[in-house]
């Protein structure tokens, strides 16, 4: 029989644990909402940098103009950190000893996934600042999703690696906010820095799938966290230290974007947006992505996401957790 003392102790421990978790979530004070950073400088809260070009991608063939993409992406990345060149930006963000994971979101196949050419350019800048090629890992959930999106797999340490997590999770469940998951083994045990590379698209349940939602690809059980418009799960997952403390940069490949019918590709609702965005503030960046989607929806006569009750509530939740800025008057959208 469990005596009263033992029961009280157990109940007390549970109550304390509950208070501690709730307390953390509620106690995030306004003055501490700016994200934490690995290195000083190169960060401006709420700054989102955008480049809009109509000539980066041939719409009929889908072919990328690598030279123009390099120049455009370079300008975006450099402005993001306030440096003169992308190399200077990368040397600020990464150390030569880093093992850098480039998390891509490739669920929607070749038509609506980050272009490999863009990822390759990021790789080149990483190598330029001294990161070993084999210490750059392009990564998503599954081999077959990467391949369908046009990525060539490479698990060997003979250059840049590209691989799906598949079954390779760190099979020790970790609690994050209201969720509990096993994280990709790569993320837990190898990577020291992250670049998040996602697209800008509508998501039937989450409202928007851009940078923050892409982290669902880091856990073994993403299907469990789609209730309530994925809120607050998207925010809580991105706030988990394994992700938050390693994230250096988020890039959105919106050369093609999609305003409805996501997360899968829909030819009807995708459009040549011709845009590349980057930020060190993932909340501000996703707020801008939401704006892009809603503008296109209104242009096509669709209701706004809010009118459809699909607005991404997790954006405000992410801001409340201190991941970044979501208030319009605090977001600085800079075109280059």
């Amino acid at each position: 029989m469990m005596n009263r003392g033992r029961r009280r102790l157990l109940e007390g421990l549970m109550a304390v644990a509950g208070t501690a978790i709730t307390g953390c979530a509620k106690a995030a004070p306004a003055e501490r909402r700016e994200p934490r950073h690995q290195k000083p400088g190169g960060f401006e809260p709420g700054l989102v940098v955008r480049a809009q070009r109509s000539n980066l991608r041939d719409e009929s063939s889908g072919k990328i103009d690598q030279g123009r993409l390099k120049a455009t992406l370079g300008a975006v990345v450099a402005r993001t950190t306030g440096d003169a060149t992308p190399s200077a930006a990368f040397s600020r963000l990464f150390r030569a000893t880093d093992v850098v994971g480039i998390k891509v979101g490739t669920l929607a196949g070749r038509s609506l996934s980050p272009h490999p050419e863009l990822v390759l350019q990021l790789f080149e800048w990483l190598v330029a600042v001294g990161v070993k090629p084999e210490n750059v890992v392009v990564w998503d959930r599954l081999d077959n999703e990467l391949e369908r999106a046009g990525y060539r797999l490479n698990r060997e340490r003979n250059g840049m690696r590209c691989l799906g997590t598949n079954q390779e999770y760190d099979w020790s469940p970790r609690e994050w906010g209201d969720g509990g998951s096993c994280f990709a083994n790569l993320l837990v045990n190898e990577l020291t820095a992250l670049i998040n590379v996602a697209v800008v698209k509508d998501h039937d349940l989450a409202g928007v799938s851009a940078g923050l939602k892409n982290w669902y690809g880091a856990i073994h059980n993403p299907n469990k966290y789609h209730d309530g418009g994925c809120s607050p799960y998207v925010a809580q997952l991105a706030a988990f230290p394994l992700i938050k403390d390693k994230l250096r940069l988020t890039v959105l490949d919106a050369l093609v974007a999609q305003c409805h019918g996501g997360p899968a590709f829909s030819a009807r609702w995708a459009w040549p947006c011709g845009t590349v965005l980057a930020s060190r503030d993932p909340v501000a960046l996703d707020t801008v992505a939401w704006r892009i989607i809603d503008e296109q929806r209104l242009k096509l006569g669709l209701q706004s996401l809010a009118s459809e009750k699909r607005e991404p509530k997790w954006i405000a939740a992410a801001a409340a957790l201190g991941l970044g800025e979501h208030r319009s008057d605090r977001i600085k959208l800079v075109d280059v």
Partner: protein, 383 residues
């Protein structure tokens, strides 16, 4: 009530039987049966899909799953909460039909079924997936996984039926994960097994829609339902599920006269009060039948619930006593080797009818479904 202690001979006999029964893990079974082989498809090949039942179109390539109370609205290329059913171009598919991730030959008592063919073996299999998220899940490595995350083997319904028959197992048990989310596979296994004179058992959380369970009830021989708690709060906070649909499933099984047993995992602090045990017993007695076997089983720390101790044996004994006092006829204590609450006693004369040790039946005195001493009819599937 008669509660004989276990003697040394019973214990050794149980250990010996258990050794045989547990000595057939996944690969050992499979190697002797050529129809059961590893899948060729690796992670890069993607998963082949079989059309799902129990769903409807929901516009713009969306589907709405009608299999379980989650009623997931699933967009193209997405999956339901279970992670094993996928929308492809507006049609819904199961990704785990004929794919097992666990296959063992177990004693039927391990499921546990105490009123179904005592001493029989059950060819027990699982496919990945579950529709709720119990923080204390004992098999979370497969229940909370997507099919790509676990090794799978091709295990067609026909091959399983043949395997069970050739191994002398009178039953196939769909168990370990949540069979409700692979209900198409369960249905086809049960249909194939019936042709081979093998009975199919389902070990489930009961979190399933009326239509699907109704269909399954036509082909299943028996069902074990994990009733996690008698409170909605527990289901919401510990399982991300709801209690009401589970109670509905129990009512349906009773109405359809499918044999079923109920298990409640008793967890310290969370659902271990005598009041809750009495609530369960009153529900069973008033809405189902006092002859429904109820098992109170012992919790051990697992998955996301590592902060609580194992259930004290006395707590389980008290729960059993409370349920018996409420008028249930067959109440058991589980996961406690050697506990006298593992035996089946005659509800009239209270003598031991089936003696079990460590999930193995060591003596069965039931004759023609009745107590040999007082001739009371004992509910169950005995032949």
């Amino acid at each position: 009530m008669t509660n004989d202690p276990i003697n040394r001979r019973d214990w050794l006999a149980a250990m010996a039987l258990g050794g045989v029964a547990f000595g057939c893990p996944f690969l050992a079974c499979a190697q002797n049966h050529s129809t059961d082989k590893p899948l060729d498809a690796g992670p890069s090949a993607g998963l082949a899909a079989v059309p799902a039942r129990w769903w409807k179109a929901a516009g713009e390539l969306r589907v709405e799953c009608e299999l379980c109370p989650n009623k997931c609205r699933v967009a193209d290329r997405e999956r339901g909460t279970c992670g094993v059913r996928e929308n492809r171009d507006g049609k819904y598919y199961t990704l785990v039909h004929s794919r097992s991730c666990a296959l063992h030959l177990d004693p039927i008592e391990k499921k546990p079924f105490f009123h179904v063919l005592p001493g029989a073996t059950a060819l027990s299999l699982a496919a990945p997936g579950c529709n709720i998220q119990c923080k204390f899940c004992q098999n979370w490595e497969i229940s909370q996984a997507r099919p790509e995350q676990v090794p799978l083997r091709q295990s067609s319904p026909g091959a399983l039926a043949e395997m069970a028959r050739s191994m002398g197992a009178p039953t196939i048990a769909c168990t370990y994960s949540e069979p409700a989310v692979w209900a198409e596979y369960v249905f086809d296994i049960a249909t194939a097994a019936r042709k081979a004179a093998v009975r199919t058992l389902m070990v489930s959380n009961g979190y399933i829609e009326h239509g699907a369970m109704s269909d399954l009830s036509q082909v299943l021989a028996a069902v074990k339902i994990d009733l996690k708690s008698m409170t909605e709060r527990f289901y919401r906070e510990q399982c991300v599920g709801k209690l009401a649909p589970v109670l509905d499933t129990l009512r349906l099984l009773h109405q359809r006269q499918v044999w079923f047993e109920i298990v409640m995992l008793v967890i310290p602090v969370l659902n271990d009060t005598q009041a809750e045990a009495r609530d369960l017993a009153r529900f069973v007695k008033s809405e189902l039948s006092p002859e429904v076997p109820v098992h109170f089983t012992r919790f051990h720390p697992s998955y996301r619930m590592q902060n609580l101790p194992s259930t004290p044996v006395a707590t389980l004994t008290r729960a059993r006593d409370a349920a018996l006092e409420e008028g249930l006829h067959y109440v058991y204590v589980g996961n406690v080797p050697g506990h006298p609450g593992a035996h089946t006693n005659c509800p009239s004369c209270h003598k031991i009818l089936v003696k079990r040790v460590n999930m193995v039946t060591v003596e069965n005195r039931i004759v023609a479904g009745s107590c040999p001493d007082c001739k009371t009819k004992i509910a169950g599937l005995w032949t």
